[in-house]
Subunit: 292 residues, 2 copies
Amino acid sequence: MSSPKSTNKVASGHLYKYSFTSSSLGGLETNINVFVPSSSSSSSSSSKVPVLYYLSGLTCTEDNAAQKGGFFNAAADAGVAIVFPDTSPRGAKIDGEDDSYDFGSGAGFYLNATKQPWSKHYNMYDYITKELPAKVDQLGLGIDTSRASIFGHSMGGHGALTLYLRNPGQYRSCSAFSPICNPTACPWGEKAFKGYLQNPADEASQYDATLLVSSLSPAERPLDILIDSGTADDFYKQNQLLPEHFQNAVRERGYDDQRVQVRLQDGYDHSYYFISTFAPEHIKWHAKFLHN
Amino acid sequence: MSSPKSTNKVASGHLYKYSFTSSSLGGLETNINVFVPSSSSSSSSSSKVPVLYYLSGLTCTEDNAAQKGGFFNAAADAGVAIVFPDTSPRGAKIDGEDDSYDFGSGAGFYLNATKQPWSKHYNMYDYITKELPAKVDQLGLGIDTSRASIFGHSMGGHGALTLYLRNPGQYRSCSAFSPICNPTACPWGEKAFKGYLQNPADEASQYDATLLVSSLSPAERPLDILIDSGTADDFYKQNQLLPEHFQNAVRERGYDDQRVQVRLQDGYDHSYYFISTFAPEHIKWHAKFLHN
């Protein structure tokens, strides 16, 4: 894994693509893209840069947000690395794996599957939270994985929120574009949980940001969250995203609107045009925590 | 053409896609993307915004640079519209039209073909310089097409340079990422000119930026040009781009390096990662001329 499959210079830094075999994903090969700003140095720990994990949405790979997200000039200015994993295992050879856009390949939902035949490979939760940081450490790219934050889009926004909420201390801040905020209450989440989990009624709540936050309190678990969702987003209109459910839940628990911000952005849709508009602001917001 | 096929809000403005029948392209349907910043107003001529035409490279459509170029936040800040045309006619039903990536579909080379059977449809030069500005005027989007500049990438950089050089007064400034600077002396240009032009030996010089600039002088024809090309660009290494030929030609004619800048950017390749790195700087540079 020490030699990248490809390298592109961008924003004075470099974007590297790596392939490696993932034990969390049952021994399948997986790809990541890693942006490293020019300010990083692997030789001195004081000049290592902090890292942002970006989780993509349904149908995406590690490439889409790297190509269309508009993150790199802002990340270079902020002195922050960005790691883009894939959205699911690939090539598990499970019947029906490639049949729908919202389940199976490209749709790992950042959970650990408990249902056969998915449970051997579909363990994106373990992959992102445990295996990936260790892999990034091994790259020797001057990235300090002890200073990490997480963000994502749509299904990846769901991933970012749930991983952040469930792992205190692992991520300093969490942001999301158009996240699926309450997956147990929307068609995408219901389908995924029914398909991946043996007992969705018991297991799904640990993968639902709105339910997770409902048992937290600002005194015991301070949160720093920034959510942007567009009002012209068809999936928002179809009640797949439900940002209001999350907003109501955090308010009920007494979280401050300044530290847990849920913003509805007028007229924006679900596309990378929306992401790229607010990408620099999200990077800058995370950098405050990562350089603190 | 008054109703867009699609609309996406981006960078507080909007990206519209339109389809229309082009007479220059022999009656074929063609698509454009148009970014309009929120600062524009169609109701008052004083608040109309100037326009940048972006010409894409081989294999691209009107979409690639809109999705991957990273232009819109900078264009919004600068108060500049951007028009993205396609790179060739589509669906002319000419034998071999879709056979190679560097000739025919996706490879119009921004010229008027004189050779059969291409000459009926492959007239991108007339389309971009004459028909497109009139179409943009008709859209009623608050764009002032009398204040225009032009830029592009690779084959589109060739297009931007040659259209700028041949049409004094039409474009205020010209910039290019990795342009084909001397197409009569490189394989891409030789193939295109031989294929599209009846007498390449006579006709090709009018489509070659290095040859065109060799007959100009700073006193009679002041130029404002910004070129960026990457040293790790495989096509640069294969002598498809030849920026040094253009640089030498402008210096020989006595042009000032400050107003005609040819910059080699260390380590960058031919990709959109390169374009997106320098996109904000190009937009800002053009805005000086467009708002003057």
